[in-house]
């Protein structure tokens, strides 16, 4: 039970629900809530099927991002501080992938698996800046992908979760741009 579920209930029912659930661990993030959210399991029909497809596409991209950061980490091109940053960001993508997979399962879907092999432009990664630019490009794309996914989920809680991940990807993008010596936040809006 989460605060997100209380909105559709009467105040007294909501209060009872909250009191019943107060013994559970309530995390502060929308994404973490999703993995254990009972309401998701009750979502059926074409809307749920569409949501599962969108989540699986996002999961596929997250798994690819994890692999891309692995390429960067193993490239031997990164200074220690940059390597630490890459591993941290990769860890975030692993967390995104984990919660997306759990949410797909909760909705009754089958989560896509990581591909055995990804096709990255490895030959063009010759310097640390090349690796940073490659990662920044993927993170920028991820921001746009989640921005495009937020309005198309049938379940508003999934939109909220996607927006939460979008915020994280945007921070990655900004930090990577900064590391490249570029303006970390190039504009007031993302597209």
């Amino acid at each position: 039970m989460s605060f997100l579920l209380l909105g559709a209930q009467s105040p007294s029912a909501a209060r009872r629900s909250f009191l019943r659930g107060s013994g559970l661990v309530l995390t502060g993030t929308a994404v973490a809530l999703l993995a254990g959210k009972e309401a998701l399991a009750a979502t059926h029909g074409a809307g749920a099927e569409s949501d599962i497809r969108i989540l699986n596409t996002a999961l596929g991209a997250e798994l690819e991002a994890i692999a891309a950061y692995q390429v960067g980490a193993e490239s031997k091109l990164l200074e220690k501080a940059v390597l630490d940053l890459a591993v941290t960001f990769q860890g975030h993508h692993k967390e995104h992938a984990d919660v997306l997979a759990k949410t797909i399962a909760k909705l009754g879907g089958k989560a896509v698996a990581a591909k055995a092999k990804y096709d990255f432009p490895v030959a063009s990664l010759k310097t640390q800046a090349d690796v940073l630019r490659f990662a920044a490009q993927l993170e920028k794309g991820a921001v746009s992908a989640y921005l495009g996914a937020v309005p198309v989920f049938g379940n508003r809680d999934l939109s909220k979760a996607a927006a939460s991940i979008l915020g994280d990807e945007a921070m990655h993008w900004a930090v990577l741009r900064n590391a490249l010596g570029e303006a970390p936040v190039p504009g007031a809006f993302v597209a």
Partner: protein, 122 residues
């Protein structure tokens, strides 16, 4: 007086559709697609080289949704414009869970860039 009326009409009407988009601007718009697509390589989405004239859902080795495979679409400026405006409406069941590019001028630029990408080299 006639000039004033024409000027007022010109301001009131949306800009006339230009024949072709700007591929350079389209290249920047294409950066939004980078999490899932690239020109030469398959990622979460299929590669975009050789897109024009290709039947949707036919890049060898890429796993498409059934909806895309059976869409019957052949990609050209017109079909891309319709799809990019609202992918989920154009091909219900597509794996491209993306709201689309609502701005017609941006779509024209993006399509101009995709057209310029040309054939695949590998």
């Amino acid at each position: 007086m006639r000039l004033r009326i024409l000027a007022a009409l010109a301001l009131a009407l949306p800009p006339a559709a230009s024949a072709a988009g700007d591929a350079a601007r389209g290249s920047q718009i294409y950066e939004r697609c980078a999490a899932c697509h690239s020109i030469e390589r398959d990622h979460t989405g299929p590669r975009h080289c050789g897109l024009f004239g290709r039947k949707a859902g036919t890049v060898a080795g890429f796993e498409y949704s059934a909806a895309m495979k059976h869409s019957g679409i052949v990609w050209n400026a017109k079909t891309l414009d319709r799809f990019l405006a609202n992918p989920l409406k154009a091909v219900p069941g597509t794996a491209m869970g993306y709201a689309g590019v609502p701005d017609a001028a941006e779509r024209r630029d993006l399509i101009a860039y995709l057209a310029k990408a040309g054939a695949c080299t590998k």
